[in-house]
Symmetry: C2
Subunit: 130 residues, 2 copies
Amino acid sequence: MNIGEAARQSGLPAKTIRYYEDIDLVVPRRGGNGYRSYSPTDVHKLQFVQRARGLGFSVQNCRTLLSLYEDENRASADVKAIAEGHLAEIEAKIEELKALRHTLKHLVDNCHGDHRPHCPIIDGLAGPEH
Amino acid sequence: MNIGEAARQSGLPAKTIRYYEDIDLVVPRRGGNGYRSYSPTDVHKLQFVQRARGLGFSVQNCRTLLSLYEDENRASADVKAIAEGHLAEIEAKIEELKALRHTLKHLVDNCHGDHRPHCPIIDGLAGPEH
DNA sequence: TATAAAGGTTCCAGTTACTGGAAGGTCAAG
DNA sequence: CTTGACCTTCCAGTAACTGGAACCTTTATA
């Protein structure tokens, strides 16, 4: 099938699918007219990548996961290790954002938000001494 | 003062400070030798940006905040609006990441993580039907 | 004074994961 | 035969830096 149909079935933009070919993630055969020709297996891979990206896995991780997906002799431990690593990153990011939110909320809550220039947010950003 | 000292005082890498000049965020004068010469005011601006970036504000927002920082006639409402917008983005991001974490944790918890190939994580990524 | 280290300069390229757009080839329908 | 949908490649841009090369200036030391 052509890239348009592959896009429909995978939920990925055609542009992205071309990009995935560019970086050797999912490489289709070519028809006589030069068009990309996606097999059902190719589409499964695209769907796989679409879901993995949707869960925030990096393209590099997707590459590894895809090879594990295709490896009948994989060890589930290898998959789990990647997922746990990613989970740890997500949790770290959440904590980081919570800390930012905490600080920012303080500043916002103390700002009158009126026409006057005095502003605790600006003061906070300018630093303790100023 | 030279860029090195400005870097020390602002906590920003010299590379980043040069970049900020490139994008017209903080532009110093130049000495006779062609070296960048940072005034105390320039350094305050760099510190301001460093803190704002540390709170996750985009460089574009930093640009606006910096102009408000320098505007004696600013309305604190303008500052607050930017901060609230950013806060909302942070909160949205946190929710998004929490949802990812939830899904991912499910998958990870159900994976044995041993030498065998069966893997709920892979199955989850492959999709419902497969 | 020679020189070497430290610190400054510019410019180019790479990072992540796409996305937009231009110029042009192919195909199915009417 | 033309129109429109779909396909192709290639180039550039995004955000916010970061690394590195090649080269110049200043400062400290032998």
